[in-house]
Every structure is written in C-alpha cells, then in structure tokens.
Symmetry: C2
Subunit: 200 residues, 2 copies
C-alpha cells in the first residue's frame, strides 16, 4: 500500500471546497487514499505577504466570478457566503477531534462543514454554528463543544499548521504526492497524470 497523498485545505477556501468534492475519487482511481489536513491559511498569508483573495484590487473581482464559474464547470453546488473569508479554527478543531477516532467520518464531517458554509451560508467560524453543524451530522453537541476547547485538540491543530508551513504550504487546496506539491483545484489534471504515470 502506497502512503496517502496529502490534501491541505482551509475551510474558508472556495477552491479548497471544490477540490474536496473530487480528491478522494481521484486518489482512489489510482489505488491511493487522500489524508485530509485542514489548515489556517491566515498563518501562511503572513509568510507570503498575501492578502485575502477577494480584497485584492482587480484580482478580487475576477476571483469572485471565477469561483462561481469554476463551481459550475465542476458541477458543484456553490453560493458565495455572505461573510467571507472567515477564520476556520472551529471547524478545523472539530475535524481533528473526530479524525483521532474516525478518519473516514472526519472526511464526511468536513464535507458537511464545507457544505454548511458554501451552500447553506452558515458562518462556521462561530463555534456555535460549527457545533450545530456537527450535531446535525450526528455528533453530540456537548462533546463537540468540549473538543473545541480541548488543549490536546488545540495543540494538534497548531502542530498541523506548523508542519504545513514547514513544508511550504501557502495556499488551498495544496496537494502533495510523494513529495511533489500541487497548488489549486486547477492542478487536479496534473495530479491525475502524476498518479497515473509517476513523475513527468
């Protein structure tokens, strides 16, 4: 069994959301699994001196249009959230908490959190909204609330972000296959070629 490919994303990232709907099937086509690794992109933005996408003159207007069009291109339901971007500490902690005992369930939870934000316009940066989304998903609200404040989980997320930064992750989605990095949902074609043929 080959090691999993790493799928880094921020819960606030539209392109990360789009990639999340395709990455598992793509990896599975080539006998691989994807390890989902939510990160906090704000930390990376400090390193690269970048501003949030939609706040950049010219590029921001284009990006709003490109995101909506890319969602239609990939056939993914999408509604631009009314609060954007958001901090993604709460959903990321909920993910890593569940991932410790149920990795497959954590991916399904991530999909539900993405959907809450990018389809139902629920601001999952607010702990109560992440908790409610987790509860709707079938988790016990009190356990989720405790997890969001658990020192072990806080440390786990901090470590994941630090490791991602050390690895050079600066955007979302960011996929690493056997050491080779791919940034952007628009690199999934190159990801596929790499999975199919190895280095090209």
């Amino acid at each position: 069994m080959q090691p999993p490919i790493d799928f880094y994303f921020d819960f606030s990232s539209p392109y990360g959301y789009l990639a999340s709907t395709r990455i598992d099937a793509l990896a599975a086509s080539y006998g691989r699994e994807a390890a989902w690794r939510p990160i906090l992109l704000g930390v990376a933005f400090k390193a690269t001196g970048q501003a949030p996408l939609l706040s950049i003159p010219l590029k921001g207007d284009y990006a709003a249009r490109d995101i909506a069009r890319s969602a239609r291109f990939y056939g993914v339901e999408y509604r631009q959230p009314s609060v954007f971007p958001i901090g993604s500490v709460a959903p990321s902690r909920a993910f890593y908490w569940l991932a410790m005992r149920d990795p497959a369930g954590a991916k399904r939870l991530a999909a539900a959190l993405f959907r809450a934000y990018f389809v139902d316009d629920i601001d999952i940066s607010k702990p109560e909204n992440t908790i409610a989304t987790c509860a709707k998903f079938g988790l016990e609200a009190a356990s989720v609330e405790a997890a969001l404040n658990d020192e072990t989980i806080k440390t786990k997320l901090k470590n994941e972000v630090a490791m991602a930064m050390n690895r050079g992750v600066f955007g979302s989605p960011y996929i690493v296959i056997d050491g080779e990095p791919f940034w952007g949902v628009d690199r999934l074609e190159q990801v596929e070629k790499w999975l199919a043929n190895g280095e090209f």
Copy 2:
C-alpha cells in the same frame, strides 16, 4: 464571423508563453480567431499591489517548479531564463509595429520572441536582442530599430496597456471571450467549454 477573442500576455510571462502555444488552435476549433495583445504586466502589478511571482516567499519556489512541470504537462519546450522577469517594452513594440501591416506575421514573430526568451535564454528586454531576434525572423534590423523608437509605436503600446488596465487585466495570460475573462493557462479548459457551449 464572430469577433476575435482577446489574448493578453506579457512577453516575460512563462504561463503566457505556454498559453501562446495553444490559443490559436483552440480558438480555430470553434471558428474564432485570437487577437494577440502583449501588455506590460508591471503596470498591472502596481494596481494590484502584487510582486513578481518568483520573488514571493514559498510561492516563488513553488512557481518555479510548477512552471517547469506545466511545460512538460503541455509538451512545450521550456528553459527557465537566467534573467527573470524582464521588462517587455522592446518585444511588445516590435510586435505592435509588425501587427499594423501584418497581423498574422506579428503572431509568428511573437512566437519567435517567446522562444528566444524561454528556450534560447536570450534577454529580449534588451533592444539589441529583440532586434537580432526580429532580424533572424526575417525583418530588416534597421527598420525594427527605428520602430522601437517610433512615437506612434510607443503610443500604441501605451494605449494597449491602458485599455487592458481599464478592462481589469491583471495577469498573464488573460483571455476575454465576448466580455468573459479567463486568467491563466489553467483556464484553457474553461475557455474551451465557453467557446463550445457559450455561457455555462
């Protein structure tokens, strides 16, 4: 006959070079022509507050790798120029000068200039190198040299850049089809879908 699609690029842009090898055939498949419009991206970078790609921490290292890999992905010959990025005033002026009397020839000249920079590592920001490349292409060196200093040509390039900025062009390649903008060689799949089906 439908109006041409606009293909904006900077002669210093690797992704613009990659797109230039595919845009005409792509447009022609759908009965369209591409109008090539070299611009000076430095002007746009001032508007968006962006830095040259390879100078950005983390992102720059990734970009160098991604450019080389993307060239292999598209099957395009590519060598990272030893001077990068460069100002593209000279090749852009040569292009617009020839385009005034021979638009098809100007595209072939643009391909030769791109190739000089991205395959043969010739620094075409230097007027003498652009002139030599044009001469090798079959143009008279003295005429090219005069064109690079011609006020009409200088104004033409300035106007093209100003019109591009007014239109919101902030990157290279940047393609506009009937008002719809597409940024990046990685949007050519969406360009193709748009050409095939219209708005999606």
